[in-house]
């Protein structure tokens, strides 16, 4: 990760604070991994563990039902709360419904009774403090491991170079003056530095010729290389109106990417979360410290939420949409569809976006070198968001067809077998890649 030198200390501090936060907020319960996953996937948007939110806190929920004498009904309640309420056999159901102002809970008929218990076990488990550096989603910050060095030339070296050049020039000036002073002849004023240099170069023409050639070739190569990097989007990280930490949301809290980017499986665009999605959680979570509160207050302004209205805050109706700066910008002549890659291609988000669970700042175009470091990613060489990067992946990515998992590809497989020669040709390298199914054709992305 490229981080400016002067910010590294700050970031280490931030990581430490985050570490503390995650200890406080998230239950670390490896024994209840199943329950944790279920909780995050199904419940987390409305229920918190230790605090009442849109719905009641889950810690002790089972006990509360048992206390009400209806301990056996909680599973029914979770699975289909409306049916239970309407059946009239549960007083607790009616009470909870009334307490939360008639807010309707979703139906989870697909959740089995065991799973309900797993979730509740997870909620009731005492918080376990994770050992430092092993908290989920937080990178290891072992003080003994040196922080990875930056590849670029630091400013100190530039400064040194300038100092040296100044010294060389002044020394040579002194030398020249001394030469005139010691010389018998009157100083030949007609000779400038440039003329002297020319004479010197002519005297040593073999060396200066070689040096000149090397310099010329080097500068041409440099110019071409720099031209090649024009408009490269790698590391592009525009400023954002809200300092949104992905590491907190996706990492520490473990919120699924699709919870906020919820059109990623339906649409060409993954979708920016709309403010009402933010408010699902942030209605209750307003920040631990002043810095967080300041950022979260911006969501309130956007949503038109006034937390000061008694008793629990209310919407004023005055909304102000958030204007984000787009990070991944494709040219207009490129058609890219997220759902194609995520649903049909089953590509993990990390393949193109890197490990956002560790991204403490707002999003950026992650350079390909970093993407390659992410486990499970297909390693690529071309810079991120260039066409070379796209087609490299299309050329390497294997498409599994004919295994019965997708009827569309089964049909394609069936038809491919009509031309055995072609199929054999495709399978020469042992796999069928996206490009062999047409992934390198122009009109797949350009129309």
């Amino acid at each position: 990760m490229k981080i400016p030198e002067n910010r590294k200390g700050l970031i280490t501090l931030k990581k430490f604070i985050l570490l503390l936060c995650c200890v406080a907020v998230v239950e670390y319960a490896p024994l209840f991994a199943q329950g944790e996953a279920l909780y995050k996937a199904k419940c987390a948007s409305c229920h918190q563990i230790e605090k009442n939110g849109t719905g009641p806190m889950l810690k002790g929920a089972r006990q509360r039902w048992i206390d009400a004498g209806e301990g056996d009904l909680i599973v029914e309640w979770v699975q289909n709360n409306a049916a239970l309420r309407n059946s009239g056999k549960s007083k607790r159901a009616a009470a909870v419904y009334k307490e939360y102002g008639g807010a309707v809970m979703q139906i989870f008929s697909e959740v089995t009774p065991e799973q309900v218990n797993q979730i509740l076990d997870y909620a009731d488990a005492p918080p376990v403090a994770p050992p430092p550096g092993t908290a989920p989603g937080v990178p290891a910050t072992d003080p003994n491991v040196p922080v990875e060095e930056d590849g670029g030339i630091s400013n100190v070296w530039w400064l040194l170079a300038v100092v040296f050049i100044v010294i060389i020039l002044s020394v040579s000036g002194v030398r020249r003056q001394l030469k005139y002073a010691t010389s018998e002849k009157a100083p030949d004023n007609s000779l400038s530095y440039w003329d002297e240099f020319k004479i010197l170069a002519w005297k040593n023409r073999a060396i200066s010729g070689v040096v000149g050639l090397v310099l010329t070739i080097a500068s041409v190569v440099l110019v071409f290389q720099s031209l090649g990097s024009i408009n490269l989007m790698e590391d592009y990280q525009p400023s954002q109106p809200i300092a949104f930490p992905h590491s907190q949301h996706a990492g520490v809290n473990g919120i699924d990417c699709k919870y906020c980017h919820n059109s990623v499986e339906k649409s060409k665009s993954a979708g920016f979360p709309t403010v009402n999605v933010c408010m699902n959680c942030h209605k209750q979570i307003n920040g631990k410290d002043a810095a967080q509160q300041e950022q979260i207050a911006k969501i309130y302004v956007a949503a038109g939420w006034d937390p000061t209205i008694k008793p629990a805050g209310a919407y004023t109706g005055k909304t102000k949409p958030i204007v984000w700066n787009k990070v991944h910008v494709l040219p207009d002549h490129v058609y890219f569809n997220h759902s194609q890659h995520v649903v049909a291609g089953k590509i993990n988000c990390t393949q193109c976006h890197g490990d956002m669970k560790q991204m403490e700042e707002t999003a950026k175009v992650v350079p390909v070198a970093e993407l390659n470091n992410v486990e499970g990613n297909l390693p690529l060489t071309k810079p991120t968001l260039t066409m070379g990067w796209c087609i490299e992946c299309h050329g390497k990515k294997e498409v599994v067809i004919g295994d019965g998992s997708n009827a569309y590809y089964d049909e394609i497989h069936k038809r491919l077998k009509n031309n055995k020669k072609l199929y054999q040709q495709y399978l020469k390298d042992g796999k069928l890649t996206a490009s062999e199914l047409g992934g390198w054709e122009c009109a797949k992305c350009h129309y």
């Binding site: 979708g271 403010v275 909304t319 102000k320 700066n325 649903v343 009827a407 569309y408 031309n419 129309y447």
Partner: protein, 1044 residues
């Protein structure tokens, strides 16, 4: 030095000296020749030498290039609360209803990110069964016209005022007035009918209502209503059912394109034109102009409008069995009429006769014929009245003469009609309207009539508001908004209710109209989902009473027919550049109206009959009824002798009204073309001024005199050749008898080429045996997208072309560019006339007997073939082999792909394309000033109509039909996501979707159960220019005429 100079310049500017003004107005201050400039001795002393100048230039170009490399920051603004139905990037479709006074259809509206961008017919609901017309499809562009009024206007001011101010003035005037007239287009909305009723009840004087409602149709069909009133006791327009008519006889009715509910009839007619079906309809047409309907007729006879009555009489006599009476008809017309009588008798009870004339006597004759045929109750349903066109010419004329003669009503409420433009006495009417105390209009534009109104409270665009319709007695439909109103517009329904004191303004949520329409409907959500429902109606048992009246149609040496063009119709959408640039399906002329005349007669009279990029057509002045029009004369094969045709709907905005920029002529390098008075020049001339009133009916034909006028006029036509010139591999046609009795070799012979066999003898071999290229692996592997076009079904209506333009962001280029042959339409419809010289299919031509010059001359009454032509996606595409940069390549799904960002514009591909379907971007249409007035993509608002899934192409690249590859990709993706195969019918291209007769079939040819595979393997299928050996993925199907 430079500073001093500037200073003095400033003083001159301050004082506005004559010298300064001259300098300011002229780019070059003093006329000087290049020679005198170069001989100036001071030039050599100039401080900036030529080389320095070039250095600066070079540096600034490099600097500008580097600066431009910085990518701009793109903003993204997500919803605050996302509506449940909207997902950014996914289209949302709404079922709605279209009605504009002359067309009606159940439609589906595609919206992307809440912007409507595409309209197609609703094939599942509504009696129009998916049938639309070019105007309905193009109407989506009108939504984004920046010249549409965006607020309430008061006379004499260009600033918007508050609606409450207008409402107050209207209500005050209404409560004082004793004589109020509401002038409205035909009202088919029950809610508006109800609101009008409320208005009449509210304002009354001495127990008598002060309010009178007059319905006014720009195109009148009142003769049909009157004839039925006389014959059946009720003035109804019946429902016609062409799908049940085995024999159709049309006398001057263009029922496939502009007559009554033509989009409904086109669907019905299309279903009867399948030669493989149980039966195929036989269609007879008698007409003066060459109409779209006439071009599809199996038998077509030419007749002057004054001869229609004779033809109808002849038909009636023939049917009654009185034998062929005295026939004043031409030999040709008599022969056709005799054939028609025979066919009508044969299909008795399953036939239909219609007439396009608005003459009462002629319509009475039509009724008598249909009664004789037993058509009532079978093909004509009087029970189910068509509620469109309720205007009564008598009432309207009485009102207009009142206004003109200075006895106008005190208050006139105009619900968007435009009689100043589209009634014969528009000019005097305009003066009369100015004498009315208060005129309030709900027109969408400050048009000819409304620009002088006291107040304009503009109505929504049809896609912006709620409305309900009852187009037929048994049919109730709802139109729902697909976008929040763009401007401060107010639905007419709401305005009427407010003025009647029944409602308060509901703001942008259209709540008043919604509440009114949904009141008391428990199943409203379901109704909106379906967009319509069927109502129970009380049966009306018609008893036929015989009645005859004389025809009022006057005859003359020369007669003129005023007709509607499919794109322009009554001229209500003049600023829609898609429609202006839609080539007329018959003449192929864009952006103009003209006089159509028989080319033979034109030669006799000394008019030029050919034209091209350089030479235009001669002008002529026609005099009708004391009115004269001067227009170019266009040679129209098939036009009846001694008749001319002039299209209505042109000449909009003759006083420079703000009716949209594309409604006016533009200059060669952009900007409005102004006349001597500084007024914008309208396109064409207004033929409504020449309409005549005879016996209270408005007639659309009249005697005329015609004189050649000075000048030559440039014509922008997309096809200037008339016939296929004997190349039978382009168009194949046959007649039904032959098709049914003979084998494929007779009517659809496979093309054979000659080669030398091993003995050195010539032998014939099939096309497949000759090939230059290796086979492209598309057969049976993966998908192979294909298309078939049934020439028997295609009626040439032009809907596909407009739909393609809307779907694929095809730029508008304007008249000047079309004239240079640079139109950009991805899909064109070639229209061929059958010339007498051409040989029949399968017959060899003798050497020396075939002359291309004669072949180009169309027959006097030619048969017509419409042939839609788009990219054929050849598997051995000649364009691909010549591209030096591989910008056009073949996909393994059989598509010929065009990659814009790779193209360098050599145009070799276009040169090598045998179908000439490639289009080159000569200009940057989305930004070059020449196209500012006409190209919607240059307007911030107009740009909203662009399809975000399709790239907007820039200057210097080729483009062409992509088979709607964005849709192909999308159906594949949907299948993959749902883990299913692509189903036949999933893929519909814009053209196939728009086709009312389902002539275009698309699909996966590799799927042997698909319709396109079956259609392509059919015995009628052939490929155009098959002998070139390029293996296209488009098949045509032999046209079958039901002759003989």
């Amino acid at each position: 030095m430079g500073v001093t100079k500037k200073y003095w310049k400033g003083i001159e500017e301050l004082k506005q000296t004559p010298d300064f003004i001259q300098q300011r107005d002229h780019e070059f201050p003093y006329p000087s020749s290049l020679a005198s400039f170069l001989s100036d001795e001071k030039l050599a002393e100039a401080s900036t030498g030529r080389r320095d100048f070039l250095k600066f230039l070079g540096f600034s170009v490099a600097a500008a290039t580097l600066v431009a490399c910085e990518a701009p920051v793109t903003k993204a603004v997500p919803y605050v609360v996302k509506p449940e139905q909207v997902t950014p990037g996914v289209a949302t479709w709404y079922a709605s209803t279209y009605y504009d006074g002359i067309s009606y259809a159940s439609i589906l509206v595609k919206t992307r990110e809440a912007r409507p961008i595409f309209i197609k017919g609703n094939a599942d609901f509504g009696f129009t069964r998916g049938g639309t017309n070019p105007q309905i499809i193009a109407s989506v562009l009108g939504l984004y016209d920046s010249d549409r009024l965006n607020g309430v206007r008061k006379k004499g001011s260009d600033a918007n005022i508050l609606v409450s101010e207008a409402d107050k003035a209207v209500v005050t005037a209404l409560s004082k007035a004793k004589d109020v007239v509401v002038l409205t287009p035909t009202v088919i909305s029950p809610s508006i009918e109800n609101a009008l009723e409320n208005l009449t009840l509210k304002y009354s004087v001495n127990g008598q209502s002060a309010v009178k409602v007059v319905q006014y149709d720009p195109i009148s069909y009142s003769a049909i209503r009157k004839a039925n009133a006389l014959n059946f006791g009720e003035g109804r327009i019946p429902s016609y059912d062409f799908s049940k008519a085995k024999t159709v006889v049309s006398v001057g009715a263009d029922f496939l394109s502009t007559w009554l509910l033509a989009n409904e009839y086109a669907v019905q007619y299309g279903s009867t034109r399948n030669p493989d079906g149980a039966w195929m309809s036989k269609h007879f047409q008698f007409e003066s102009i060459m109409s779209i309907t006439g071009s599809n007729a199996d038998y077509r006879a030419q007749a002057k409008p004054s001869e229609y009555v004779g033809i109808l009489n002849y038909l009636l006599k023939g049917l009654v069995g009185e034998g062929s009476g005295s026939s004043s008809l031409s030999k040709e017309a008599t022969a056709t009429a005799d054939a028609a009588i025979k066919a009508l008798k044969k299909a008795k009870g399953e036939s239909l006769v219609v007439c396009g004339s608005n003459d009462l006597g002629e319509q009475l004759l039509v009724n008598a014929i249909n009664q004789q045929l037993g058509a009532y109750g079978v093909t004509i349903d009087l029970n189910n009245e068509v509620r469109l066109f309720q205007g009564n010419d008598e009432e309207v004329n009485a009102l207009f003469s009142r206004i003109i003669s200075g006895k106008p009503p005190e208050v006139l409420i105009n619900l968007g009609t435009n009689p100043v433009y589209n009634s014969p006495n528009g000019v005097s009417l305009k003066k009369g309207l100015e004498r009315i105390g208060l005129v309030v209009s709900t027109a969408r534009y400050a048009d000819e009539t409304s620009s002088s109104a006291s107040y304009i409270v503009p109505d929504h665009h049809a896609l912006e508001g709620w409305c309900d319709y009852r187009p037929k007695e048994d049919h109730y439909a709802v139109a729902q908004p697909t976008i929040r109103p763009l401007g401060d517009t107010y639905s007419s329904l709401e305005s009427l209710l407010v003025w009647a004191g029944k409602a308060k303004r509901g703001g942008k949520d259209s709540s008043v109209a919604y509440d009114t329409i949904s009141a008391g409907r428990l199943d409203f959500a379901n109704l909106v989902h379906n967009s319509c429902e069927t109502l129970n109606i009380t049966p009306f048992i018609p008893a036929f009473t015989e009645k005859r009246l004389n025809s009022q149609t006057k005859s003359g040496d020369w007669e003129v027919v005023f007709y509607q063009k499919t794109g322009i119709r009554d001229g209500a959408m003049p600023s829609n550049p898609w429609l202006q640039e839609l080539p007329d399906p018959i003449s192929k002329v864009t952006w103009d109206n003209y006089i159509t005349m028989n080319p033979g007669q034109m030669e006799e009279m000394g008019y030029a009959t050919t034209f091209d990029q350089e030479t235009g057509l001669n002008m002529a002045t026609v005099n009708v009824n004391g009115q004269s029009l001067t227009l170019p004369v266009y040679p129209q094969p098939g036009q009846a002798a001694n008749t001319i045709g002039i299209a209505l709907g042109y000449g909009r905005g003759s006083s420079g009204e703000a009716i949209g920029r594309a409604a006016y002529q533009t200059k060669e390098y952009g900007g409005m073309d102004l006349d001597a008075n500084g007024l914008k020049k309208p396109i064409g001339s207004n033929a409504f001024t020449c309409l005549t009133v005879a016996g209270s009916q408005i007639l659309y034909s009249a005697p005329v005199s015609i004189q050649k006028a000075e000048g030559e006029y440039p014509i922008a036509a997309t096809q200037i050749h008339h016939t296929v010139m004997g190349r039978e591999s382009i168009v194949k046609e046959t007649v039904l008898g032959e098709y049914l009795s003979k084998d494929k070799e007779t009517y659809n012979p496979a093309h054979k080429l000659q080669r030398l066999n091993e003995h050195g003898h010539h032998e014939e071999a099939a096309i497949e045996e000759f090939d230059l290229w290796n086979a492209h692996p598309v057969e049976k592997v993966g998908h192979r997208w294909g298309m078939t076009v049934d020439l028997s079904s295609c009626i040439g209506c032009g809907s596909c072309l407009v739909a393609c333009q809307a779907e694929n962001n095809v730029p508008v280029v304007g008249k000047d560019e079309v004239r240079r042959g640079r139109e950009m339409h991805w899909l064109r419809i070639d229209r061929y006339y059958a010339s007498g010289v051409e040989s029949t299919v399968g017959e060899k031509k003798e050497d020396g007997t075939f002359g291309y010059t004669e072949a180009e001359i169309a027959a006097d009454n030619p048969a017509v073939v419409h042939m839609p032509l788009m990219c054929h996606h050849c598997n051995h595409a000649p364009c691909e082999t010549v591209c030096p940069v591989a910008a056009t390549t073949h996909s393994n799904e059989g598509l010929n792909q065009m990659t814009y960002n790779r193209c360098i514009g050599t145009r070799y591909c276009a040169n090598n394309c045998p179908y000439k379907v490639r289009r080159f971007n000569w200009f940057n249409y989305p930004s070059y000033k020449k196209f500012t007035e006409i190209n919607p993509a240059q307007d911030d608002l107009g740009r909203m109509v662009l399809n975000p899934d399709v790239t907007v192409r820039t200057r210097g690249v080729m483009e062409k039909c992509s088979f709607c590859v964005q849709r192909i990709q999308s159906v594949k993706l949907e299948a993959k996501k749902a883990s299913r195969t692509v189903q036949d019918g999933d893929l519909k291209t814009a053209c196939s979707e728009a086709c009312p007769t389902q002539a275009i079939t698309v699909g996966d040819w590799n799927d042997n159960s698909s319709n396109v595979y079956k259609s392509a393997e059919d015995k009628r299928s052939y490929q155009a220019l098959e002998e070139v050996g390029i293996k296209p993925n488009v098949w045509y199907k032999v046209k079958v005429r039901n002759e003989g």
